[in-house]
């Protein structure tokens, strides 16, 4: 057998967070990121040795600038968990949590973290210190609140729970911003009390100025997907470059990193060295990736010459491309707007309109949705989104399901078969000049 309906042979896979040749990635940025990740995890272990305070926080709408300004090291258990999944360690921690009584349907991030904690916190990439403070910075997911409560109970750390109002309007309402700002002041006073340090607004403004520069550079990178062919892979590659914008935001290092990324993207464009050599299908991707099978999943795209030109998941930390940038002139207000504007904190009408806009602005041919069993706050509604995109906007859309953390839910044969059929149908419809689009009903 020498051919499938797609004639482009699979390119060799880019690694994600591990070694090996990776033509899919930007070389300098990849090396820089590898160094930063290693330093981050060794820094966490060092903080524990030196008894420096450690805070745990969630990625969505996180408050890293404020927490760091009080001298805390910040752990993002979601990021630790996804790194465990990439390293094929997540199932071990998930099974440990299940042995403690957490059910099959509990979120994989939660079980990875609780299992890891009970096994002592040692991962293949470093030791994760125990928290001195738990900051539940996203309240849109009830499971997350319970996760943080479980950590507070088992580890004995104090918990600060932010109540982040769910967004039903394009721009955050004044009442919501005021409510968030009031909570931020309450939070700052708590940090002053816990650390004995006075809050330094001038320093926060300086940090936020750096955050903004990194955010602007990150947006520039993401918007490069508008070029044809796309010089970036806005899902698999962008997910890899999310680390600094979520974890190291506010540092000069993060600013430098995205400058490097953009310089390399520019070189890619000049040299015509695109992530998918022969771009055939431009996709908008919605949903969390299956970290346990990242390369396998990516290869299913490459085989068809499919490139992600825009994606929602790289914006879980913040919808910077919608203008929710930190602003040193309005420090707390802009932090509040940023937190309220986290992607999963948006109502479904906002999310679907955003995806529709991405399809138009990035000249995408289709939408691919990857739902995960673990996460109802991200995934519930994706079936309706699929139907809406097909029937109301005429956009070919495929819905797939597995999990981001639990490898037991990734069925490669089924996923590949659905993807092959979907790309076949796109190719067939394209090959007939007078092809009929999906009929709106």
């Amino acid at each position: 057998m020498t051919d499938t309906l797609a004639s482009t042979p699979p390119a060799s896979s880019g690694a994600h967070g591990s070694g090996g040749e990776s033509p899919g990635f930007l070389k300098d940025a990849r090396e820089e990121q590898r160094r930063m990740v290693e330093e981050y995890y060794s820094g966490l272990a060092q903080a524990e040795k030196e008894k420096r305070p450690v805070a745990y926080m969630l990625v969505g709408g996180n408050l890293t600038e404020i927490v760091r300004s009080f001298g805390y090291e910040v752990v993002f258990p979601e990021i630790v968990a996804l790194n465990c999944a990439i390293k094929h360690k997540s199932l071990e921690y998930i099974l440990q949590a299940e042995a403690q009584g957490y059910g099959l349907d509990v979120c994989g991030y939660v079980k990875n973290d609780l299992g890891l904690q009970s096994l002592g916190g040692d991962t293949p990439f470093g030791h994760i210190p125990k928290p001195d403070l738990l900051v539940c910075s996203f309240s849109g997911c009830y499971v997350y609140i319970k996760w943080w409560e479980a950590l507070a109970e088992t580890l004995g750390a104090p918990l600060f729970n932010f109540d982040v109002p769910y967004q039903r309007t394009d721009a955050p309402q004044k009442e919501d911003i005021d409510y968030m700002v009031a909570q931020l002041w309450e939070f700052v006073h708590l940090l002053e009390k816990k650390t004995g340090r006075a809050f330094d607004m001038a320093e926060l403004k300086r940090v936020l100025a750096r955050s903004r520069r990194a955010e602007e550079a990150w947006v520039k990178y993401l918007e490069a997907g508008k070029y044809r062919p796309s010089p970036i892979e806005a899902y698999f590659e962008a997910v890899f470059y999310m680390f600094p914008i979520n974890v190291l935001r506010g540092t000069e290092e993060a600013v430098r990193f995205y400058d490097t990324v953009n310089q390399e993207v520019e070189v890619r464009r000049k040299e015509g060295n695109y992530p998918v050599p022969e771009e055939k299908v431009r996709l908008v991707v919605e949903g969390v990736p299956p970290y346990t099978n990242y390369r396998t999943f990516w290869d299913f795209f490459r085989k068809w010459g499919a490139v992600s030109v825009a994606a929602t998941y790289p914006k879980v930390g913040g919808l910077f491309d919608r203008g929710f940038l930190h602003d040193p002139a309005r420090p707390f207000e802009s932090i509040a707007e940023y937190s309220l504007g986290a992607y999963v904190n948006q109502s479904w009408p906002i999310r679907r309109e955003l995806i529709k806009k991405y399809v138009k602005d990035y000249q995408a041919d289709a939408v691919l949705i990857h739902g995960i069993k673990s996460c109802r706050s991200f995934t519930a509604g994706q079936g309706d989104l699929r139907d809406w995109l097909i029937h109301e906007t005429g956009t070919p859309t495929l819905y797939l399901e597995s999990d981001h953390q639990d490898p037991r839910y990734f069925a490669p044969a089924q996923i590949k078969n659905r993807m092959d059929a979907f790309f076949e149908s796109l190719e067939q419809r394209r090959s007939t000049a007078a092809s009929s689009p999906v009929v709106a009903r």
């Binding site: 057998m1 070919p396 089924q414 078969n417 059929a421 076949e424 067939q428 419809r429 009903r441």
Partner: protein
């Protein structure tokens, strides 16, 4: 022009069809074992033998179904979703919706007026509502799967059978038997249960006539009747419905031959 062969390696059977000028001139059906390459070769050999066709007359072989990547002697692989759409469109050109119920998959495929896939939905992670479901339940009642369709049509008071799980359905059948229910009524309930589950998939892609029923389960008359009743629409079936994937595959090969891809 040379002939085109389509080989569909499913979870239960290997089907082969030989096309000449878009007409089926030979076909074969084999059970699938662990040696898929051998099963595929055997399917092709049997089909050729049936019509006394020499292998050299076949200019293009297309593989489809879950075992398609193992058909090492072919020139093209295509998913069974595209193939069932094309096959159904060839036999019933008015087809806009295909329901394919095979051994472990149920697929709802909406097709364009040219037989292209517009949208599709499949059962996920569960074989309830598939041919396997009927196999298991027929076994629990002591029938051969070929008998149960006609028997189900003789039901007088169909019982309700849930469709959540193939394994649990078997114990549900046993429970009905132990309560003295007529096996024909149980069989009718089983067929309705599959029709209900299929309807859910069909609704996801949008129900639009004409509906064509393909796959091994389409040979079951009781299932055709249940599905048609549940849809409120007539359902196209053909003696070749089980071969629809192989027909679509062969048709794509034939198009390649016309385009100069002869071997």
């Amino acid at each position: 022009m040379k002939l085109a062969a389509g080989i569909d390696i499913g979870s239960t059977t290997a089907k082969c069809v030989i096309l000449k000028d878009s007409q089926v001139v030979a076909s074969s059906l084999n059970p699938v074992g662990v040696n898929i390459v051998r099963d595929a070769e055997e399917a092709l050999r049997k089909a050729l033998a049936e019509a006394s066709i020499d292998r050299s007359e076949v200019g293009f072989v297309t593989g489809t179904g879950y075992g398609r990547y193992k058909i090492s002697f072919g020139q093209l692989t295509v998913t069974e979703i595209s193939c069932h759409a094309r096959g159904a469109h060839l036999l019933f050109p008015g087809t806009r919706l295909v329901i394919d119920i095979g051994g472990q998959d149920t697929k709802a495929i909406r097709v364009s007026e040219r037989g292209e896939v517009v949208d599709f939905a499949m059962n996920d992670k569960c074989a309830a509502g598939t041919g396997r479901f009927l196999d298991v339940c027929a076994g629990a009642l002591g029938f051969d799967v070929a008998e149960i369709g006609p028997l189900s049509l003789q039901a007088r008071h169909p019982v309700k059978v849930s469709s959540t799980c193939t394994v649990f359905a078997e114990s549900e059948v046993t429970s009905h038997v132990s309560r003295g229910k007529d096996p024909k009524d149980i069989l009718a309930g089983l067929h309705t249960s599959i029709a209900n589950r299929s309807l859910s998939l069909l609704q996801r892609v949008g129900i639009e006539p004409e509906v064509t029923f393909t796959g091994g389960v389409s040979r079951n008359e009781g299932m055709v009747r249940s599905l048609s009743a549940r849809l409120g629409l007539p359902v196209n079936v053909s003696p070749l419905s089980q071969y629809m994937g192989a027909i679509g595959a062969a048709l794509m090969g034939e198009e390649r031959l016309k385009g100069g891809a002869a071997q």
